[in-house]
Symmetry: D2
Subunit: 315 residues, 4 copies
Amino acid sequence: MTSLPTPPPVLNPARLRLIASCPDRVGIVARVATFLAERGASITEANHYHDTHSQWFFMRSEFEIGRGSPSAAEAHSPVSAAADDAALLARLAEEFRPIAEAFGMQWRITDAQQPRRVVILVSRFDHCLAHLLHRRKSGDLVFDLPCVISNHDDLRPLVEWYGVPFHHVPVPRDPAGKDAALKQTAALIDQAAPDTIVLARYMQIFPPWLCERYRDRIINIHHSFLPSFVGGRPYHQAEERGVKLIGATCHYVTEELDAGPIIEQDVVRIRHSDTIKDMMRLGKDVESAVLARGFRLHLEDRVLVHGHKTILFSE
Amino acid sequence: MTSLPTPPPVLNPARLRLIASCPDRVGIVARVATFLAERGASITEANHYHDTHSQWFFMRSEFEIGRGSPSAAEAHSPVSAAADDAALLARLAEEFRPIAEAFGMQWRITDAQQPRRVVILVSRFDHCLAHLLHRRKSGDLVFDLPCVISNHDDLRPLVEWYGVPFHHVPVPRDPAGKDAALKQTAALIDQAAPDTIVLARYMQIFPPWLCERYRDRIINIHHSFLPSFVGGRPYHQAEERGVKLIGATCHYVTEELDAGPIIEQDVVRIRHSDTIKDMMRLGKDVESAVLARGFRLHLEDRVLVHGHKTILFSE
Amino acid sequence: MTSLPTPPPVLNPARLRLIASCPDRVGIVARVATFLAERGASITEANHYHDTHSQWFFMRSEFEIGRGSPSAAEAHSPVSAAADDAALLARLAEEFRPIAEAFGMQWRITDAQQPRRVVILVSRFDHCLAHLLHRRKSGDLVFDLPCVISNHDDLRPLVEWYGVPFHHVPVPRDPAGKDAALKQTAALIDQAAPDTIVLARYMQIFPPWLCERYRDRIINIHHSFLPSFVGGRPYHQAEERGVKLIGATCHYVTEELDAGPIIEQDVVRIRHSDTIKDMMRLGKDVESAVLARGFRLHLEDRVLVHGHKTILFSE
Amino acid sequence: MTSLPTPPPVLNPARLRLIASCPDRVGIVARVATFLAERGASITEANHYHDTHSQWFFMRSEFEIGRGSPSAAEAHSPVSAAADDAALLARLAEEFRPIAEAFGMQWRITDAQQPRRVVILVSRFDHCLAHLLHRRKSGDLVFDLPCVISNHDDLRPLVEWYGVPFHHVPVPRDPAGKDAALKQTAALIDQAAPDTIVLARYMQIFPPWLCERYRDRIINIHHSFLPSFVGGRPYHQAEERGVKLIGATCHYVTEELDAGPIIEQDVVRIRHSDTIKDMMRLGKDVESAVLARGFRLHLEDRVLVHGHKTILFSE
């Protein structure tokens, strides 16, 4: 092998991601990388992980690929110069399908430059919501936000100041009323057609059918270092127990309360003189930060759910 | 008030600590500080804390006081020039008793320069023990160590290399044998007359009568972020749950397993690729560090137990 | 001593703080505590620290004292039942002055329930300002904010949404123009009569006369872990050097750029893949958090400046 | 593509690593992964990173490959059943060379199960050395240690207790004596034929020729958060400046003092009451931990040097 064909430079590239997991076997990386190379894709970041326990393989590749210019492998895989990114994505997915099926993959190809559609739900505590709105406005977190939904009307001025539609759906305590309210909430969510739902201190329990509908796409922030202090009033529990650190946990929501796959956690030190009110104040910062970090990992397709755990490709 | 009498310089001072707690009322600090000032004591560090919830008051004062030279208040409280530090301590305690009784104090006066007597118990994991032995040898932690006791003989060479007597007391599984072994262990402890007992990964449960005998003086290191993962095999529980941080907890031992007052805690981040073996390795460092920090706070009389919680004067 | 006089309960107390430092000598604590006890003050938190190197003594006491009801020591120190808190403060200060002078103290008595007057200066980066405004609105940080001043007009909508007056004072680059602009800025500050000035990413250098006028009362946030990367563009310097952590420093402003007494610092981990833009994003969170923590310590009178260093009583 | 050939199970596999970097171009991953797949290698972990700034590509793949059994690609690349791991490595390297040359790679293939040969140099502070020796003995860090070299004889008993040869080479202050001593030190190093040299608080400056001989293989621990406080006595500098955090830096040694590529850093919080002696004590723990982490990353081939910075594949 004395020389390599020099591929044509990639002009005006699209930036895409291929996420996949499957039972492990020899040749997966080679097959996928060859698929990408044949199409002139330039890999900018890739992570592969083999879980020894379950013999499962996980991968995430981010790559640049020509939009309009024909790829090096044009002969058997022409990408039309007129195709826009959605068409490019669809075409690539179509071409990748046989490989995915041969390996028994769970997989997706996503567009790194296409902001995700996100719906945020919130109750009365505004710190997580304000954190996300502020970072979205400043460009630090990029996502589309068709609406914010709340069971209280308190945060309407904040949300509307950021130019985001706000829906108020009160949730009564009686079972029938609550059921109706959650159905109305679900209808508003469905109508917004979100990719991801963020519960930014939404103090209602999602019904199982709604958890299932958006499986692995509902992100919650819990104000404790799970599995410590599950359930309500974790700061009171922490104060009662006399712990020296309090924490927050960002996790996917499942039917089982506070038990979904954990994405991110962190803690903050407290002192004997800190009251529950102090813990709430300190907790706000760690909750906001942990939610923002977990949400960012999710938006960048860096979180792969595996059973009740997560693989994080956080390079 | 135009001038203050200049107290004579304190020559060759002893360094003592007064630790006290009592129901709060006006005038405690004034009374105690006046007591110290009358004896020419120079306060080098002091902390006072009022717990609003229980209306309880806590204080710790570290002060220098003349050993041989008569104090400014010699007239009504002469400290004999010939008295050694133990006598000085006894005298001060005798003089302080009426004040303590008037306020209903729990209290003690200790000698900051007198190393505490400590017995360490350990099983097979050597990281916490090695950490303490090394820091003791290097002078970073100052305490007397009459002996180390273990239910296994594995760590004898390590302990003896540091010139410390090592006792091996196997603990059988049968109740009668276990009971006899723990009694023998207690006898060895009593014989060493320790101020403090450190369980540096000692994998046996102390019987209630032994917990009671050394109440608020038995320090344990638990290899989880309590109250998460109480009981056995916390790393397995952590792996099962998919947490992103693991921790360690240094606490006083009470009859209730893993529920004694917490002194210090910390966590370390883990990754999806970390196996239980990796967690054990990462856990070793955080366990060693947390135990050493909690133990140091205890040695310096900075931990005041209040119910099932601790006040830490960690300035 | 068989009994203690029971002081009358303190009704509707004021919460005050006494901050003092002076050359160390025996009896300071006793004298101050007796002064407070004579007036029926109940100490809720106190810290004393003796700096061995400089032989200097520092103290901070927070106490509750009766407002309207006569104190136990009414005979020689009557506090008029009609006096409001300012009068109470003035009276106490008057009475304390002889003690302070006898010991050569730098000292002040402050009202813990009286919000400080603060002026915030900012340029274009809004993260620190937004953090402070949001925490003020939610009651997590309590202070009066007569106005925000900026050399740009960009952040007016944000500030005005929070109902705070906004002054735009452009600062030209030419020396004469800059001088005039800073004088106008100073005039606006003086007019607001602030206790404290916060530079929340204000990208202009304060002239020495302005630093001097508000000595130990101007708080700046610097976007590096000082003394690393002093001067401009610290993230570029950090990227160039390949460090693994970036930080932020909250400090008092002095004539010497980036060299004033440090109040608080923290760091955040970065990865090889983090660009300068990523560092800026990560830096924003640590800057906001460090500024808020340092500012809170200042508001609570927990920061005592000693030469070019700070004593923090952060219990 | 309806079916994939099932590769024979890999029996008794060797675990190897391929580390490479080169100018970026399309197809690198595909070519390398295909190379591995052709030989039946199962990738257990892989990381790829593209540095946008320099247009350079970095990769690390860890894989299992059959030792004795013929691989799926036996026809054109038979690996003799009799070959031991060294032969396997040599063969693989030989076969990979044309690919490496075609892409202009810097590369190596290493045996993950073959402990590295390491020489540790130390002066009088024993905390980093003790940390490494203890973790090596407990199996937490795996490496061969042919000898420890010191310019003092103090730590001989510690080293010899761990069964490791100890060489004492005093380094005089006069240039000629120092030069001779460093040459003798280098001769002892060369004789031990180490892969890696660890300076575990070795207080002598390595001459440029020695830095060059073991380029990117000499690891130093510096007792400050570089680039703060370069040079000597960093704790004194930190105390002088009044910083609130002190740190440690693990870096490769280059001719330029304290300026080599940084591998790992961390910090620890200090208080106003901490003396330089306290900083030294707190610093010991962070130094030991940072050195151990950086050294582990190096041993696992997770550190790729790129100019004066490092890429860390720390999955």
